[in-house]
């Protein structure tokens, strides 16, 4: 049976049988992988601790008809361990992992998604920024990689140079007064500046933002995400903001 080796991020796990798990991974070169990890739920497992969501691992698998089988896993970055000790970071990471799973396909390489997710998890583990800001930055950029880049300056419909005040989720961002469809919202200019900063990773602007603008931006990002994804992101319901 052909074997392969790849760096991968663990996205999700399911219990299988008595002591096994099905592990969903995002491989650096192979895209999304579904594999069985045998015996990893036993306390004597040699690599069970490395196959937890949010861990970056170097995995060796052999290909199967439906599911591959993990034969070895070495830890590259145990982000999940650090993230689990901060509850807002944990809920943010859960949304990131679930979104990534929805935006990627089995067997289709997704290097940009891999890099973005690894960077996002590293930022959460380092705890240098508000986890909600890290999440919103990740979501905006992940959606852009998937082809749904939001516009926060120029009109998303006609391209007229901004800034514009109105925001319309189905149109893909801010809209000019001429294009403004019914149902558009008018967020605070600071919120639009924050969203733009999150998209471009301008952390000096993002970290200096006020709480109400963060809250408004988060709501807009969540609405934008749910609009574009076919299935809802379940973990968004359990997201916890930093007090």
């Amino acid at each position: 049976m052909p074997t392969y080796r790849d760096a991968a991020i663990v996205l999700r796990t399911y219990k299988l049988g008595e002591a096994d798990r099905i592990v969903i991974l995002l491989g650096r070169t192979r895209g999304r992988i579904r594999a069985v990890a045998k015996g990893v739920r036993r306390t004597s497992s040699k690599f069970g601790a490395r196959l937890e969501p949010g861990m970056v691992v170097d995995v060796q698998c052999y290909e199967g008809r439906n599911l591959d089988t993990i034969t070895q896993a070495d830890g590259l970055a145990p982000y999940g361990e650090a993230i689990s000790h901060d509850y807002p970071s944990y809920t943010s990471a859960s949304v990131m992992l679930e979104t990534c799973e929805q935006l990627t396909e089995e067997g289709a390489p997704a290097l940009q998604h891999f890099r973005l997710l690894a960077g996002g998890l590293a930022a959460l583990a380092a705890a240098e920024h508000d986890p909600r800001l890290v999440l919103d930055s990740y979501l905006l950029r992940a959606l852009a990689i998937a082809g749904w880049r939001a516009s926060f300056a120029d009109c998303a419909r006609c391209g007229m140079t901004g800034p514009h005040r109105a925001f319309h989720v189905p149109s893909g961002g801010v809209v000019c007064p001429v294009c403004r469809p019914p149902g558009s919202t008018a967020p605070a200019p600071e919120t639009l500046a924050l969203l733009s900063a999150l998209f471009t990773s301008d952390w000096s602007v993002a970290d200096a933002s006020q709480r109400r603008h963060r809250s408004e931006a988060s709501g807009m990002v969540a609405a934008y995400l749910q609009w574009h994804l076919e299935r809802g992101v379940r973990s968004l319901r359990h997201l916890e903001r930093t007090p």
Partner: protein
């Protein structure tokens, strides 16, 4: 495919966790060949589990009355509550004979991707048990995986404002009988974090 009741039995057995179609078929034919008394006993046990077993109103463990035998036992220390994810964990800890306090079964762990939040667990009931001031220590014994750790983090934060209630977490580390060189870095890291002194050197 078999006819009538045999296929019905195979289908029902196949719905049990960890039982595939082949396993279900093997069990069904074993039952067909078994002593009728054994089958009657099995059928009665299945009916009784439906009729008699319920969840303890205090701790959420499986019980045959309103309260489980541990909550009814006066010799158990009421000042210590060990929080576990499921009833099977109670049995595992009881086998150690190390813990003489009481339990609280959460009914799972916080798993946002799986759609399980704190409100889906028996967290409110745990907080209610602290109201009378009798509890001095809550030992969090959730699974040592990501969801279990996050649940422990959540509970520790939730219970922090309760005066006089210590919150502890089961130690994680090296399995007894294993070789150090085979330990993964996460487990070994936790073993270092939770190391304990065995000698403090000469004093005075």
């Amino acid at each position: 495919m078999y006819e009538g009741v045999v296929q019905d039995l195979i289908d029902e057995l196949g719905r049990l966790p960890g039982v595939g179609p082949k396993g279900a078929q093997r069990m069904a034919f074993h039952l067909l060949a078994a002593d009728p008394e054994d089958i009657t006993r099995l059928a009665e046990a299945l009916l009784q589990i439906r009729e008699k077993v319920r969840f303890c109103e205090v701790c959420g463990n499986v019980a045959e009355a309103e309260r489980c035998r541990i909550c009814l036992d006066d010799r158990r220390d009421p000042s210590m509550i060990c929080v576990v994810e499921q009833s099977q964990d109670v049995a595992a800890i009881e086998r150690t004979r190390e813990f003489r306090g009481r339990y609280h079964v959460l009914g799972g762990a916080i798993n946002p991707i799986g759609g399980v939040g704190p409100e889906d667990l028996r967290v409110r009931e745990l907080v209610a048990r602290l109201a009378d001031g009798e509890v001095a220590e809550v030992i969090i014994a959730t699974d040592p995986n990501l969801e279990g750790e996050a649940t422990a983090t959540y509970l520790a934060r939730l219970l922090a404002p309760y005066d006089g209630v210590r919150v502890s977490r089961l130690a994680s580390g090296l399995p007894v009988g294993g070789d150090l060189e085979y330990a993964d870095e996460v487990t070994l890291g936790r073993a270092f974090e939770g190391r304990r002194m065995i000698s403090t050197g000469p004093t005075g």
